[in-house]
């Protein structure tokens, strides 16, 4: 698939934005400035970027605890994300959700869930809504290898299959649920055997190559829009940080494995391709980076300047009016 220069640069900018945002958040977490748990998406950027680029606002996504990348790729405002991560009143959820629960319904980002596998049934509902609307919209759900052992995963695959839902399952297989390897925890071993069992079209790809993700997602989403039923895309990747950012949490993964995957950095690899192919010059790449760093800085400043909620704001939003 030959991608236009604009598309290539868009993909690169989305990945780099996620990377710079996550780097800044991680630095703040390790400086002790962020409350709660933060799960970093660094290392997996190509997946959110390569999938979400094919969707517009009427298409809906459901994310998971490691959700910052999906938000950014779907077009969320980094200022309101950063404010939410800090628990500020100006955040997406007015400080009621935090890093793990960012949502922006106005752009079709139906939220990140902190319960492994729980986004899958919710996404079947979003896909059913798209099916009933008959406007060619689709839904996509992101989840990890860990979710594939949950009952909700299997229930959602089954429902999507029997109702031919326009739902894209995006499995971000980073090989571990916290510190437990998929090799140990997953009886099926090969993830795509599970969608196969439910008669769901599927493909397994190397998830750190954004062009490959782009091309696979394009094909999958075209099928969804035609009404051909659900599609399952496994993207093999690796997270660079621990399960969540914490000095107290152990990382039991082999260090040589982590180092090997860092050599396969999705952002660096793509930048090299763009430079080699003369899509970008070094100075253009630098300009993009500076622009993104400024946006991240602006988001951080917005969060810093924003007020905390009043304690009694805790009583609001239990119910909608």
């Amino acid at each position: 698939m030959d991608l236009s220069r604009n598309t290539l640069i868009d993909l690169y900018a989305t990945m780099l934005t996620i990377r710079r945002f996550e780097e800044r958040v991680a630095a703040e977490v390790y400086a002790g400035k962020v409350p709660g748990f933060v799960h970093s998406y660094i290392g997996e950027e190509a997946i959110a970027a390569g999938v979400c680029v094919h969707m517009d606002r009427q298409d809906r996504i459901v994310s998971h605890h490691r959700g910052h990348g999906h938000c950014i790729a779907k077009g969320a405002d980094m200022k309101r994300m950063m404010a939410e991560i800090y628990g500020k009143k100006t955040g997406y959820c007015k400080g009621k959700g935090g890093s793990m629960h960012i949502a922006d319904f106005s752009i079709g980002m139906l939220g990140a869930d902190g319960i492994v596998g729980a986004g899958l049934p919710i996404a079947t509902g979003a896909a059913m809504a798209a099916q009933l609307d008959r406007k060619g919209a689709i839904a996509a759900v992101f989840f990890g290898d860990g979710a594939c052992n949950e009952g909700e995963f299997h229930e959602a695959l089954n429902l999507a299959s029997i109702w031919k839902l326009p739902l894209l399952f995006v499995c971000e297989n980073n090989g571990y649920g916290v510190n437990t390897s998929a090799e140990y925890a997953m009886g099926a071993k090969d993830i795509t055997r599970m969608p196969e069992a439910y008669h769901i079209a599927n493909r397994s790809i190397y998830g750190n190559d954004v062009e490959l993700v782009y091309e696979a997602a394009a094909e999958a989403i075209a099928r969804l829009r035609k009404g051909d039923g659900p599609y399952f895309l496994e993207c093999k990747t690796y997270r660079w940080h621990k399960h969540f950012l914490s000095n107290a949490l152990e990382d039991l993964r082999p260090s040589e494995e982590l180092e090997a995957w860092k050599q396969k950095c999705p952002v660096a690899a793509f930048q090299k391709k763009l430079l080699d192919r003369k899509i970008l010059t070094a100075s253009e790449a630098e300009q993009i980076d500076q622009k993104i760093l400024a946006q991240v800085e602006e988001a951080h400043a917005f969060a810093m300047e924003s007020p905390y909620p009043q304690p009694q704001d805790a009583l609001e939003d239990v119910y909608s009016i």
């Binding site: 009621k96 629960h101 922006d104 139906l110 509902g125 939003d317 119910y319």
Partner: protein, 318 residues
Amino acid sequence: MREITYETAATEAIQEEFRKNPRTVHLSTDLPSDLQREFGADRVRVTPIAENSFVGASIGLAGSGYRTVSNLRMATFGFVALDQMMNHAAKITYMFGGQAKFPILYRMTVGAGYSGAAEHSISPYAMYMNVPGLKILLATTPYDIKGLLKTALRENNPVVSFEPFLLGGMKGPVPEEEYFIPFGKASVRREGTDVTVVALARMVYEALGAAEDLEKEGISIEVIDPRTLIPLDRETIIESVQKTGRLVVVDEACQTCGAAAEILALTASDRATFGKLKSAPGRVCGLDVPIPFSPPMEKFAIPDKAKIIKAVKTAMRN
């Protein structure tokens, strides 16, 4: 006035609202023939027996602009879907800062008294009351179930309707004209002066039976049916207890941490009400056992008219 069953009244509420609002969907494990015939198999879908999937799908539908009715059949099956119900349906409005509305009606039956044994008999509404974010209905008449479900189908929050299994076939007067019953308004089923009896679910009828017997002995009891547990009509309960000075709460759910405990606590901890109590408030609840199968044991485990009469007489003595 015509008389229809509790279940027919519930179906009528759904039919009326589905006719008005095309962005409505019905999900259930059993085929609701009347609904599917009228609204089609696209909107009225039979689901696999996989409760978490369709309780969760209702949330995704709601977040995408559809109103959903999900019928789980029995509250014991509802436990299978507790992740989606408790972690998501209940919390999602709040956790996302109120940026979206989640209009969902979950229905399931409760109660015991039909030898369904422990896995087909339970009254777990107090568990749901303990997870903020859900509104909770407990209708006991055909008139009430229709009026409350009509309101639920205009509500912008997840609502759980707990429907007493044994009342499903009960007939009662239901007008042809459209009506709505607001949440948080208790029904005083019988007025009285000596003892306030707050009765939940099917126990309303046991309490009304007790009231008739006690009247012959010169004891006048006021029977209050809260109809909705969240929101709970505290005012009507407190006003009645201030009038009678005596309170007995009746619920077939297990006693420990039940809705009855909450009703006792809210009255006893209200200073003005406490000062007017003439005797210790009492409760008649299910025993703290899983519901047994064999009829003599089951009858022993849940409240009935005789147990209510005994509790009322105790309240009258001290």
